[in-house]
Symmetry: C2
Subunit: 257 residues, 2 copies
């Protein structure tokens, strides 16, 4: 029996007030925490770590292999993602590497995925309540997914009137997909459809811009930005984005508690 322990941990937005206590406990107890340099930096200096392996952004497979390997050697290992580790994060990759090694859960190492607050709900909270109705989450990164698949999903989500959250919307080198996405959505939604551009939610430098599909400026978007596109009901009330769920709300006198 292998006594190693492997945790895949979502850091949430990166602010200590939004990190789950379970995540904090696991990170503090880990022999080694494996992650992208930039996410590990979010924990510094408020969460001291006992050991760290920091790599660059695109080295996900390398990080998963290191983590599995060290857990296999009996260590207590945590792998981190920002947001929720199960949403375009490290959880799937770690399980794939374990499967390739013929991991047997009965023999160990033990594996636990610790959920976190994912980017779209963090961004939504910052701008109001745009996710009160059905929504679709689409990553615009075509590094691992062919563009026609992304295109088809954007079209389907727009056509069926989903609120749409865009992850990985734009990087320094990958600028075309975001403008292409805007054009696809404009084929199904009015130009004045509300759009929220939330950069660094709950992090230093947080910046929010409410605009529309028409006035949207792709240049303001980077890999630390989440974009939320409203459905046909989404409105801006007093500077907050709200997608009504369909309740009848009027200005009637309040009922007594």
């Amino acid at each position: 029996v292998n006594t190693g322990e492997l945790y895949v941990v979502g850091l949430g937005p990166g602010h200590p007030d939004l990190l789950a206590p379970r995540a904090r406990t696991v990170l503090a107890a880990a022999d080694v925490v494996v992650g992208y340099r930039g996410y590990l930096a979010l924990l510094d200096p408020w969460l001291p770590l006992r050991g760290v392996v920091a790599t660059e952004l695109t080295r996900e497979v390398e990080r998963a292999v290191i983590a599995v390997d060290r857990a296999w050697q009996g260590e207590r290992v945590a792998v981190v993602s920002s947001g929720d580790a199960g949403v375009y994060g490290m959880a799937g990759l770690v399980l794939e590497v374990l499967a390739a090694r013929n991991w047997d859960p009965e023999q160990g190492p033990t594996v636990e995925v610790v959920p976190g607050i994912t980017a779209i709900t963090a961004a939504a909270a910052v701008v109001g309540a745009p996710l009160m109705h059905d929504f679709a989450v689409v990553s615009l990164s075509d590094r691992l997914t062919p563009w026609p698949v992304i295109h088809r999903r954007l079209e389907a989500a727009a056509q069926a009137d989903f609120v749409i959250g865009l992850y990985n919307p734009r990087s320094a080198r990958r600028t075309a997909p975001l403008e292409a996405a805007r054009r696809i959505l404009l084929g199904f939604r009015r130009p004045d459809t509300p759009v929220a551009v939330v950069r660094n939610a709950y992090r230093p430098g947080q910046a929010v811009r409410l605009c529309t599909l028409e006035t949207f400026v792709p240049e303001e978007v980077d890999m630390f930005t989440t974009v939320i596109v409203g459905n046909t009901s989404t409105r801006v009330y007093r500077g907050r984005l709200v997608t009504p769920r369909g309740y009848r709300v009027d200005a009637k006198a309040p009922q007594a508690p």
Copy 2:
């Protein structure tokens, strides 16, 4: 200027280890916490509250009005939802009631939405990593949404190969939509498409069932259940559900850290 404070707080799954510290702080400091009786019970006895207004499940508008009213009177008020308050939760309704009252953010009361871990990412963490690729979240409740809208969204999400999360899948009285949804999805996905049925994630009585679109038993599903339907790539590895993101993973020897 109105000095009231209004917080709309996501409780996450309901386990203390997964409640954001910000949520805990806000709840402990509130003069009154307003919520559905069953969700407030999740906090008892580990989080003492100073004052409580508990109502039944369908009284959302009443709860929003009470909360806004008491904040308007200068109190510090928290309204709770399970999961994330911005995902089919109380955040939108509270903002709609404020708008109906001509709320002016400059004059107060202040309003803050505190994000939480939403049901689909909690359920995903319990079963593995099914949300590694694009996903759509659809509520099957036809109380506020006409069934044809729900039908169209299920069809679009299935057609474009989204992983699909079903919220509010089935209640004691509302049993037809879940079976209808299963039939719609079977029109686009293989009968052996993996399905995870997660009841009471991270709560007492947590129950997980991995099945397929074909072997799925709707009777096991209730309002405390989240259903995740895999896309065409989703697989079961060692009892965990994984949707590969497309990385090349093989059993090669690990690289040195």
